[in-house]
């Protein structure tokens, strides 16, 4: 094996035909929202650039990101990308195991110091010195820090790595934290979602490999081409939202007519993801299309932003999960109304009882 093969050489070695390779390039360009001329650019880059290794680590997670990834709607994309990345380290799909597998990490550092991409699925727990996630006898957070020290850039797969997700939900006993809380000195691309959409994942990784740079990111560090708009902005039920036509209950007339799911808790208006455009399972469907509101799975802290079934959600200021802005605010405003009424009565009594010794007279004596 030559020391610095190109991606194209690797793919050919894995049995990908040139025709498939070119198809893959145009699919990817289209998926990234780039013009047709970019298909050629991607092909050229993959043919000429030495392969960038990808090390795929797993912290506290459920592997749904990997599951999503390997089920890319376009099998070709999945195959091609898998052939590109499985070469290095991914403990779910690699052939090696045990010491052999861990050795690969050190070899990658030796050979490609500062050049490989670190793809992180899941996140590190920090409590008890990281003992809640042990790999090869060491806390995962140490492995993560060690690999991050030598990588070029990090991809934070899924809501776990991007935001924390379920293991970081209150009360977060293991103190799980997203990658950007631990690694402060490397560029991080957040690809949130629980899991992220397969096409989004393959698109992001291909972009980084082909162009050798980070995709354009939004303020939160997410690739702008997939996370630039809310589901609500591109939802096909949006006309019903604007008209004021809502599903009130999941079995009502509105539900049958496909009205907007806002009142039964759809978080589309506050969720940045590509579900309403790219959709799931190769464009088959997505939650709103199947009649259920979005849970906001790609958003920071979405587990603690319940209920999933109401537009007004818990504020998280008290321990009580039922305390929403409406209950707290309603209580504050209600207290003001009651207080004002009581004060008015008391003022009336005070005024009546003070009639004889007028306050103004008392005052002018003073």
């Amino acid at each position: 094996m030559p020391a610095h093969e190109t991606f194209y050489e690797v793919m050919r070695r894995h049995g990908v035909t040139r025709r498939s390779f070119l198809k893959f390039c145009s699919l990817t360009a289209a998926g990234l929202g780039l013009g047709p001329e970019f298909a050629g650019k991607i092909a050229h880059a993959l043919e000429t650039k030495p392969r960038t290794p990808v090390v795929w680590l797993h912290g506290l997670e459920c592997t749904c990101c990997t599951e999503s990834f390997i089920r890319s709607g376009n099998p070709l994309a999945g195959d091609v990308i898998l052939s590109m990345i499985s070469l290095d380290y991914d403990d779910t799909i690699m052939a090696a195991a045990g010491h052999q597998a861990e050795e690969i990490l050190e070899q990658t550092i030796e050979k490609y110091d500062g050049q490989f991409i670190l793809a992180c699925e899941g996140n590190p727990p920090l409590n008890e010195d990281g003992m809640y996630c042990i790999q090869a006898g060491r806390p995962y957070v140490e492995k993560l820090r060690h690999m991050a020290d030598h990588c070029k850039a990090i991809i934070a797969w899924g809501s776990c790595a991007s935001w924390g997700c379920v293991q970081a939900a209150r009360p977060n006993p293991t103190q799980a934290v997203p990658i950007h809380k631990v690694i402060l000195d490397k560029p991080i691309v957040k690809v949130p979602g629980c899991p992220p959409i397969a096409e989004v994942m393959t698109g992001v990784i291909t972009y980084m490999l082909a162009f050798d740079r980070l995709p354009p990111l939004d303020r939160q560090g997410r690739p702008a081409m997939f996370y630039g708009q809310r589901l609500h902005d591109k939802c096909y039920r949006r006309p019903h939202f604007d008209a004021g036509q809502f599903v009130e209950k999941f079995d009502d007339e509105g539900a049958r007519k496909g009205y907007c799911l806002y009142k039964v808790g759809c978080k589309g208006p506050t969720t940045y993801n590509a579900c309403s455009t790219v959709e799931w399972n190769g464009g088959l469907s997505w939650p709103v299309k199947s009649g259920h509101g979005c849970l906001g799975c790609a958003e920071d802290n979405f587990w603690d932003k319940g209920s999933f079934y109401s537009p007004v959600t818990n504020l998280g200021v008290t321990g009580n999960v039922e305390s929403t802005a409406n209950t707290i605010g309603g209580a504050i405003a209600g207290a003001a109304a009651i207080g004002v009424a009581a004060h008015a009565v008391a003022s009336g009594i005070a005024k009546a009882s003070g009639k004889k010794s007028k306050p103004t007279e008392e005052v002018s004596n003073g």
Binding site: D242, P269, P311, I332, A333
Partner: protein
């Protein structure tokens, strides 16, 4: 200065005094109307009305509610900044909203006096040409601090519709750096509405109460700008 005021007692605190200039009064009523529209439409965004039937293309109920919210929001935000400008160029009573004289010991003793007075712990009532110290603090908290909070969170939410790179995003997108979850920003914005309602209930009560219980006029000072004192007694009761 302070001693001479106590000695002569009622300097400038008798008869009629012109305090709130036209811009302050006009702003007050525009501001009150805008907040009322914002609170009602905002409530309806958080808790939408019962579904309308028929074709989606035949109605635009939620769209109109949001349109009114955003239009009132522009009035509210621009009004706020015009009012701040007037605090700089206007008379001393125009500055009260923005500048609470917390560095003056007298401010705190008068504030304490108002607390006692409203708690029925003293019967002595003081006179003020501008706002009383308690009202002034509340106006600053709710109509400067909270109002700016509503503008920042509101326009940040607005920027989600106008999109990345839009003016709203460039000016207010930083809100999502502090709180990345836009659902959380929405909920804080909603809580802000309830706090505004809290202020409005108490404010209107206090104004009406002042009509009957204080030594000066209430509502009319915000209509013709003239403070009318009901007696010639000294400003601070001893």
């Amino acid at each position: 200065m302070a001693t001479s005021r106590v000695a002569t007692g009622n300097d400038g605190y008798t008869g009629n005094v012109y305090v709130f200039e036209v811009p302050v009064r006009v702003w007050h009523w525009i501001h009150a109307l805008a907040i009322t529209a914002l609170a009602i439409t905002g409530y309806l965004i958080a808790n939408p009305l019962t579904s309308v039937s028929g074709e989606a293309s035949d109605s635009f109920l939620m769209g109109n509610i949001r349109l009114i919210h955003f239009s009132a929001a522009m009035v509210f935000a621009v009004g706020l900044f015009v009012r701040f400008y007037w605090a700089i160029v206007g008379n001393r009573y125009a500055k009260g909203l923005l500048i609470v004289p917390v560095w003056r010991g007298q401010y705190w003793s008068r504030l304490w006096h108002e607390v006692l007075m409203y708690s029925f712990l003293t019967r002595k009532v003081a006179k003020y040409r501008g706002h009383n110290p308690l009202a002034q603090l509340a106006m600053w908290l709710f109509n400067v601090v909270l109002a700016l909070f509503m503008v920042c969170t509101g326009f940040a939410l607005y920027s989600q519709g106008t999109g990345a790179g839009s003016w709203a995003d460039r000016w207010f997108g930083w809100v999502f750096v502090i709180e990345p979850s836009s659902q959380a920003v929405r909920m804080w914005h909603l809580l802000g509405m309830w706090l505004m309602v809290f202020f409005i209930i108490i404010h209107i009560y206090m104004v009406i109460r002042a009509e009957f219980m204080s030594r000066q006029n209430g509502t009319s000072v915000m209509i013709d700008g003239i403070r009318r004192f009901k007696d010639d007694g000294p400003r601070d009761p001893q």
